[in-house]
C-alpha cells in the first residue's frame, strides 16, 4: 500500500540553524500538507500546498517557514532560523483532492532544537 515517507526520522539542531524536513507524498496525490505536534499537545495545521503554491497557511507558518516541491516527488519544509519552541513532531500529509478526500500522514520527523 502506498504511503507517505519522511526523512529524517529525528533531527537535532542548534537554535538559529536552518533545517529542511523532507517528505515524499503518495505518487498520485495532488495536495500536500505540513502539520506539527508539540509534545503532549494536539496536531496543528501549518500549511497546504497545491499546484506549486501555498493554498492555505496558519498563523504559525510565519516568514521563518517555507515549503517547496523541488521535483516531482519531494515536498520540503524549511525552517530558516530555528527557535526552541519549534521543537515538535512534524507530519507531512497528502491527499488526492480536498473535501472528503483522506489526508494520509507520514510517520513524522521529530525536530529537537537545542
Amino acid at each position: 500500500e502506498p504511503e507517505v515517507t519522511q526523512t529524517p526520522s529525528h533531527q537535532v539542531t542548534q537554535m538559529g540553524q536552518e533545517v529542511i524536513l523532507r517528505c515524499v507524498p503518495i505518487s498520485n496525490h495532488l495536495y500536500f500538507y505540513w502539520y506539527r505536534q508539540i509534545l503532549g499537545q494536539k496536531v496543528e495545521f501549518l500549511v497546504s500546498f497545491y499546484n506549486n503554491e501555498i493554498s492555505e497557511k496558519s498563523e504559525i507558518f510565519d516568514d521563518q517557514f517555507s515549503v517547496e516541491r523541488p521535483d516531482g516527488s519531494n515536498f520540503t519544509l524549511k525552517i530558516r532560523s530555528t527557535k526552541l519552541e519549534d521543537s515538535a513532531m512534524y507530519f507531512c500529509a497528502s491527499s488526492v483532492g480536498r473535501g472528503t478526500d483522506t489526508q494520509y500522514f507520514g510517520p513524522g520527523t521529530r525536530l529537537t532544537v537545542l
Binding site: 507517505v4 495536495y31 500538507y33 502539520y35 499537545q41 494536539k42 496536531v43 496543528e44 495545521f45 497546504s48 497545491y50 493554498s55 492555505e56 496558519s58 507530519f91 500529509a93 480536498r98 473535501g99 472528503t100 483522506t102 489526508q103 494520509y104 500522514f105 507520514g106 510517520p107 513524522g108
Partner: protein
C-alpha cells in the same frame, strides 16, 4: 471558534468493553468529521469519518455518533481489544468555504486509549 474539544484525555478499558471518546465543536462551518488513530512512532491514520447529514456511521467495531444540534460527535469502539490501544484524534474540516479554508483539518487534543487484556 476553530477549536475541537476532545475528552477524555486518557481512557483505560478492559478487553471486550466499550470505549467512548467524545468531541465537541463550535464552528458551524465544519462539515466533515474524521477520526484518526495513531500508534507510537507512526503518523495519524484515518479510522472512520462522518458528514453531518447522517447521525451514525458504523464500520466494523467502530461507530461514530453525530449530534448536529449539540455540535458533538463521538467514537464508540465495541469489543475493545488490546490492539486498539493507541491515541485517537477527532478532527473537523469545512467542505465549502471561501479562500480555500477547506484544506486544513482541525484536531482535538487526542485520547490515549489503553485496553487491558
Amino acid at each position: 471558534q476553530q477549536q475541537v474539544k476532545q475528552s477524555p484525555q486518557s481512557l483505560i478499558v478492559q478487553k471486550g468493553g466499550i470505549s467512548i471518546i467524545n468531541c465537541a465543536y463550535e464552528n458551524t462551518a465544519f462539515d466533515y468529521f474524521p477520526w484518526y488513530q495513531q500508534f507510537p512512532g507512526k503518523g495519524p491514520a484515518l479510522l472512520i469519518a462522518i458528514r453531518p447529514d447522517v447521525s451514525e456511521k458504523k464500520e466494523g467495531r467502530f461507530t461514530i455518533s453525530f449530534n448536529k444540534s449539540a455540535k458533538q460527535f463521538s467514537l464508540h469502539i465495541m469489543d475493545s481489544q488490546p490492539g486498539d490501544s493507541a491515541t485517537y484524534f477527532c478532527a473537523a474540516k469545512p467542505l465549502q468555504g471561501s479562500g480555500g479554508s477547506n484544506y486544513k483539518l482541525t484536531f482535538g487534543k487526542g485520547t490515549l486509549l489503553t485496553v487491558n487484556p
